[in-house]
């Protein structure tokens, strides 16, 4: 089954399109698809408590992995998120996720 890579650059407070992407991630995972949600740029703010309701659902979904960009955290002077289901990673990981065979990548910016 082809993996999905969803990359978000904004926060849920920036526009409804962000929540739409989170809903898409949940829908794909509920349908049995493997989903990697990569939070980068301002989207890293969504990795902190209290989580946005759709993020709350995604972090506990067995088919979803949530990645948070290390550079985006560092450039905003943010500590690593404490949630055990959230993985801090860099651009090399994002490239590795992207080049997987048949990976379907969606980049979203508001």
């Amino acid at each position: 089954m082809a993996p999905y890579l969803l990359i978000e650059t904004n926060t849920a407070w920036d526009g409804t399109g962000v929540v739409d992407l989170l809903k898409l991630a949940a829908g794909l995972a509920d349908g049995g698809q493997s989903v990697d949600l990569f939070l980068i740029q301002n989207a890293v703010l969504m990795a902190y408590e209290p989580l946005e309701p759709w993020m709350e659902r995604l972090v506990t979904h067995p088919l979803v992995t949530i990645w948070v960009d290390d550079f985006s955290l560092a450039s905003r002077a943010l500590p690593h998120p404490h949630h055990p289901q959230v993985v801090v990673a860099g651009a090399d990981t994002l490239v590795s996720l992207l080049i997987r065979p048949d990976c379907k990548a969606i980049w979203h910016s508001a």
Binding site: T9, G90, L98, I99, A105, S109
Partner: protein, 133 residues
């Protein structure tokens, strides 16, 4: 994860100052090159402004820090292209470039007709379209 050599196409549409996306693009290009992939960048829309030689080597002086020098996007991209050699190709959409008057492109980029985009997508093993559509 798979680390065999692939051809990776990054498509950027974002202008240089609207968001962090230019920084993200440059990080991804560097990371992909470090993994020994062939990297192609297709610059469309406002991203055609990134590679103009008229930007010079440095950004305009920061009057809050007169000693500091910050490289222009053109200088950073030229450095990347020089270091990487033919494994990195930077394509400029001619239509978007002309529409913005961004015709003073640096010599290392390749100006392409818009329809060539589909050929680059077809040839790529992985493609990421970045920026607002």
């Amino acid at each position: 994860m798979d680390h065999t050599t692939k051809t990776v196409l990054f498509v950027t549409l974002d202008g240089p100052h609207r968001s962090d996306s230019t920084t993200t693009l440059l990080r991804l290009v560097e990371a992909a090159l470090a993994q020994h992939h062939e990297v192609r960048v297709w610059a469309c829309g406002g991203a055609t402004l990134l590679t103009q030689h008229t930007l010079g080597v440095h950004k305009p002086r920061n009057f809050l820090d007169l000693e500091a020098e910050y490289p222009s996007t053109a200088a950073v991209i030229e450095s990347l292209l020089t270091r990487a050699g033919p494994v990195l190709q930077w394509y400029i959409c001619r239509h978007c470039m002309e529409e913005r008057g961004a015709t003073a492109q640096m010599r290392l980029v390749k100006i392409q007709p818009p329809f060539r985009f589909f050929e680059h997508v077809r040839l790529a093993d992985a493609c990421l379209v970045m920026g607002p559509l």
